[in-house]
């Protein structure tokens, strides 16, 4: 199978010995939307810049459509990069900005004009075509940057925190546009962000990184429900993490671990010693399935935000955990601080991971 983009144990070590990225393996299919997610300094931008050719790689290979481009200069890679600060050419009009990448290609003037006109129209930029970009709003400038990057018909569009400089409202709008655009064009998008909601809302697959290492590569939903490492469990969503000792195997593909709160069952592999429980999978006051985990505690505080009720429960050992429930549910309505509660969790929504 020919992948659009393939990273084979790509790594980068700076001359002073600092490791920016190590052993990055990824296969991306044509038309896939992949997000690199992680805290700042985790190596996500560096990896993107290595794909673009702005950073040398010191280990591994990068392939685009099966062709090794590990050491090809950026201008000869079939990638186009979108920058957080737009990086528009301030001495050119909107039209000149967009036509810039086509100018250096051998192409008929009429053909060039047709392409530029079409993309101007597609991004609603026709009326600004002859203005310089500096008078336009952030959203318009980001559209110009996208149009400029897409008009050269790249194989892969690389986006480096493209929504970072926009306000929340505009971010949502452009986010929607991006998703539709990517679906319509069928171009592979690789998107770098530190915002969970962007990564989870936009992409087909998310690569979570920390300290230069890939923690997990999976679909957004799986990232939520089945975190693979303690880092992902901490970073994504709102999980309660309980450490324990590895225990025996149970029926139905479940595994058990021994915790200070008693044995807990969950989905995991042999030797797992940590339970990850999503905040929304706690059931207050219920304990249905045998073997279901039950935690006893008292309500420390309650907060209703929109349709979600956030309840903080203090366990017997003093630890406080977050529980999410529907704001309209009877428990969310009736519980008040100080009330005793039992928290039950279906083992199938518990993930057991390795320390």
């Amino acid at each position: 199978m020919l992948y659009d983009l393939e990273l084979q144990s790509v790594g980068k070590t700076y001359p002073d010995g600092t490791v920016a990225v190590s052993d990055f393996d990824l296969k991306v299919e044509k038309g896939e939307f992949v997000a690199f997610l992680g805290p700042s300094g985790c190596g996500k931008s560096t990896t993107l810049r290595m794909i673009a050719g702005f950073e040398e790689i010191t280990n591994g290979e990068i392939l685009i459509m099966g062709k090794n481009i590990s050491h090809t200069p950026p201008e000869r890679r079939p990638t186009s990069m979108i920058f957080q600060n737009y990086a528009l050419f301030p001495h050119m009009t909107v039209r000149q900005n967009i036509a810039f990448g086509l100018d250096v290609k051998k192409m008929e003037t009429a053909e060039k004009k047709r392409k530029v006109d079409r993309i101007l129209d597609m991004f609603d930029l026709t009326e600004f075509a002859d203005r310089t970009a500096d008078r336009l709003s952030g959203g318009q400038r980001q559209r110009i940057a996208l149009a400029r990057g897409l008009v050269v018909e790249p194989e892969i569009l690389l986006l480096d925190e493209p929504l970072g400089a926009l306000d929340a409202n505009l971010r949502r709008i452009i986010q929607n546009e991006l998703k539709l655009l990517q679906r319509d064009l069928g171009i592979t998008f690789v998107f770098v962000t530190h915002a969970q909601s962007e990564a989870l809302g936009l992409s087909d697959r998310v690569v979570v990184m920390s300290n230069g290492v890939v923690e997990q590569i999976s679909a957004p939903k799986e990232l939520y429900t089945r975190p693979a490492t303690p880092f992902v469990a901490e970073f994504i969503g709102s999980n309660t993490i309980i450490e324990g000792k590895s225990g025996k195997m149970l029926d139905g593909g479940l595994q058990q671990i021994e915790t200070p709160y008693g044995p807990m069952a969950g989905v995991g592999t042999a030797g797992a010693d940590m339970a990850v429980i999503p905040a929304e999978s706690f059931r207050i006051g219920l304990r249905e399935t045998p073997g279901e985990i039950a935690l006893e505690g008292t309500v420390a505080s309650k907060k209703l935000v929109g349709s979600i009720g956030y309840i903080r429960v203090k366990l017997s050992d003093g630890r406080e955990i977050d529980v999410e429930t529907h704001a309209g549910s009877p428990e969310a309505q009736s519980l008040s601080a100080g009330a005793s509660v039992t928290l039950g969790v279906d083992p199938s929504s518990v993930t057991l991971i390795h320390h």
């Binding site: 950026p74 201008e75 990069m81 600060n85 990086a87 001495h91 290609k105 050269v152």
Partner: protein, 279 residues
């Protein structure tokens, strides 16, 4: 009360400072309008433009010989122009090189800066001795030219270094990622954006070379540049024609400044100029 006094006091200080700065030039300008019979001092016997005519060879012959500036002026202008071209090209290129850290960049930096730090008399003398030793003739267009470049190159380099420091690299990367070659990227993106800096570097190099004295004194050989020629006339007797020339050459400098200002205005019209984007 104190604040009330401070402002006029500072204003007076500033006025005195400006007078001190421009006083000699004003005196010189006034004296240049002395009449034929008057000397290079006050009082003005009669206002006239005689010395300007004399300078341009339009006056009837007098006992004062014409100021020998014609050829030396051309030489100085050509020399300053060539120096500017070479220094600014070298300065831009080396500043570009310094954008990425390279091995030995520290020592190289100080070596470049040395060119403007070492006393002109010493390098001038040194080059004169060296050319004697190597049996190379000294001339304004060879030995002096080299020294002028060595002298002005660091200034151009520092100006360009400051410009590149504030330059947003991502516009260049955007260009590369669109498939535009590094050479084209420099020509069509980088250069237009750093052009105001290049203009400043050119102005520096030109003016420094145009009135360079000590280095040229030892290395120019027989054909003199303008500062040398003017200095030469002092050793005889001073007439107001030197002042008239001073006024004209100052006007020339002002013209350069005005052109510089206009060009700067034209090229930094876009307020949000990528080179200075505060991203």
């Amino acid at each position: 009360m104190q604040v009330g006094l401070l402002r006029p006091a500072l204003a007076l200080y500033a006025a005195l400072f400006l007078l001190f700065l421009y006083g000699p030039m004003i005196v010189l300008a006034i004296l240049s309008f002395q009449s034929q019979g008057g000397g290079p001092q006050f009082p003005i016997q009669e206002w006239s433009v005689y010395w300007y005519k004399h300078l341009l060879g339009l006056a009837e012959t007098s006992r004062v010989s014409q100021l020998p500036v014609g050829d030396s002026l051309i030489r100085s202008l050509v020399l300053a122009f060539l120096t500017t071209v070479v220094s600014v090209t070298l300065g831009t290129m080396s500043a570009e090189a310094f954008r990425t850290r390279f091995k030995g960049s520290g020592p190289v930096f100080y070596l470049i800066i040395l060119g403007m730090m070492v006393p002109g008399v010493l390098v001038g003398l040194g080059v004169a001795l060296l050319s004697n030793f190597l049996d190379i003739g000294r001339a304004w267009w060879s030995t002096s030219f080299v020294l002028h470049v060595v002298y002005t190159f660091p200034f151009a380099f520092l100006v360009m270094l400051a410009i590149f420091n504030r330059f947003d690299r991502s516009v260049e990367e955007a260009s590369l990622s669109l498939g535009v070659s590094p050479a084209q990227t420099f020509r069509r993106v980088t250069f237009p954006l750093i052009f105001p800096g290049v203009l400043s570097a050119m102005l520096f190099s030109f003016t420094l070379s145009y009135d360079e004295f000590s280095r040229t004194l030892f290395t120019a050989g027989a054909d003199l540049t303008l500062p040398l020629a003017i200095y030469g006339t002092f050793s005889v007797e001073i007439y107001p024609n030197v002042f008239a020339f001073g006024v004209l050459t100052t006007l020339f400098s002002f013209t350069l400044l005005v052109i510089y200002g206009l060009l700067m205005k034209r090229f930094t019209r876009n307020k949000r100029f990528a080179g200075q984007e505060d991203a």
